[in-house]
């Protein structure tokens, strides 16, 4: 256990310089709801903690002129809720964010932290992937933008290079006829880690036919999955029973979970299909209601 340097830079450049220049493990502090637990339980022993919440760009959630959103990586769920249109336009993303912990956690937990903690069970990640979100990354080599699904590579590991951190996210404008939803299974009603999570975003045409879809599953593999077969199973359908059964089967086929204290392989696989069916129906209802 070593003493830890703490810095709270005001610009992206300063943050990158600190992270890139660190000798030893450097950790980004956004909401802190994972990092502080890891610090306390000695799971991590960093030399440097960089609080990015003093960087304006990480702290703002804006709706752009084209209806897309730019979301700072350190914005807390409770803050997103206070935006006048965000929760109404992307209810699935919002509800996935809302499900991360308690009210108290909501006041702190950020999308950037939830993604970069790289837990396969992270609640917000399937919804972000389903919604087609991308992440804006800053690092010593400059800026780059990558799909959210490309960031986690293994439990606790990301594709971010040394000195890089996620500054913000891009969420596309909600398409006409679009709807999204996130569901998870936990034993209690709150305060648990997802045993299975499923995000679905889809677009319906005027006739109620699914024209495009993205389906993402959490906690059923080492990383959150984008399940393209699942999307294919429902595109071109009216989400009738056969389509939902095909969706269920495609999701189950994509699962490669583990047995652990939170659930079994059999249970996770089976429930992934159940949640996908239910989430798809909710997303379609939301799409149809516009």
């Amino acid at each position: 256990m070593q003493s830890v340097q703490f810095e709270a830079p005001g610009t992206v450049e300063q943050a990158v310089a600190l992270l890139a220049g660190a000798t030893g493990d450097a950790r980004v502090l956004a909401g802190g709801t994972d990092l502080l637990v890891q610090l306390r339980s000695h799971m991590v022993d960093p030399a440097l903690v960089v609080d990015i919440k003093h960087i304006e760009e990480t702290r703002t959630l804006v709706r752009n002129a084209d209806g897309s959103y730019t979301i700072g990586s350190a914005v807390a769920g409770a803050e997103a809720h206070e935006h006048d249109r965000f929760a109404a336009e992307w209810p699935g993303v919002m509800e996935s964010w809302d499900l991360i912990g308690s009210t108290q956690i909501q006041g702190r937990a950020s999308l950037g932290g939830n993604l970069c903690n790289a837990s396969p069970a992270a609640d917000s990640v399937p919804a972000m992937i389903a919604a087609g979100m991308t992440a804006n990354i800053a690092g010593p080599g400059g800026r780059r933008t990558v799909p959210v699904e490309d960031i986690p590579v293994a439990p606790g590991r990301t594709s971010l290079a040394n000195g890089e951190f996620v500054v913000s996210f891009n969420l596309p404008a909600r398409p006409a006829g679009g709807g999204d939803a996130y569901l998870r299974l936990i034993p209690r009603t709150e305060m648990d880690i997802a045993v299975v999570g499923c995000g679905v975003a889809l677009v319906l045409d005027a006739g109620g036919i699914v024209t495009s879809a993205r389906v993402s599953l959490g906690a059923v593999a080492p990383t959150v999955l984008l399940v393209e077969d699942a999307a294919r199973a429902i595109v071109g359908t009216r989400l009738d029973d056969d389509a939902l059964a095909a969706l269920d089967a495609a999701c189950q086929a994509a699962c490669s979970p583990i047995n652990d204290k939170r659930g079994t392989i059999v249970y996770r696989t089976q429930v992934a299909g159940v949640l996908a069916r239910r989430a798809a129906r909710i997303a379609a209802e939301r799409a149809g209601s516009r």
Partner: protein
């Protein structure tokens, strides 16, 4: 390494303290400032006994670094009563026996106050979900939920 010198406002009073990076806001409140009303039940954000308001937002003080409190305003259970006048939630927790052992009580009160300030007319379900991050092992929550609902009704001016 040198400790951080942090300037904050706690329960309306300007407060300065020194802390190491590893010390959480809860550690600082309890060990440095002797504000032991906020309790540590888990140190992992799972029990809510350390709930405080940080710049007007409900947080677990065990999940905030002391150094992060620089320039911020903190409200704890010790600031809830005004002089010798209890907050209506405190009074109703007493009248409705919404506590048994009392260890979770400060956290529940801080969290419930935050709820009523945002939503003066919550449903039972809204109260239960808002308070889901505050664990109580003694009461089964029944009397806590009732006390919060009754306080909300009183504050709205409805007869309870």
């Amino acid at each position: 390494m040198a400790k951080h010198h942090v300037t904050t406002t706690i329960n309306g009073e300007p407060v300065e303290f020194l802390c190491s990076t590893r010390q959480t806001l809860l550690d600082v409140l309890r060990d440095e400032l002797n504000l032991t009303g906020s309790k540590e039940g888990c140190a992992s954000g799972d029990c809510g006994a350390c709930s405080v308001m940080l710049d007007g937002r409900l947080v677990c003080s065990c999940l905030v670094l002391g150094a992060e409190a620089e320039g911020k305003s903190v409200e704890t259970i010790e600031g809830m009563a005004e002089g010798d006048r209890l907050h209506p939630l405190q009074q109703n927790f007493l009248e409705d026996a919404a506590l048994q052992c009392g260890i979770c009580t400060p956290g529940f009160l801080v969290a419930a106050k935050a709820l009523l300030e945002r939503n003066p007319d919550p449903t039972e379900t809204e109260v239960r979900y808002w308070l889901a991050g505050n664990l109580c092992r003694c009461t089964g929550y029944d009397k806590i939920i009732r006390a919060v609902m009754r306080t909300a009704a009183e504050v709205r001016g409805e007869a309870s």
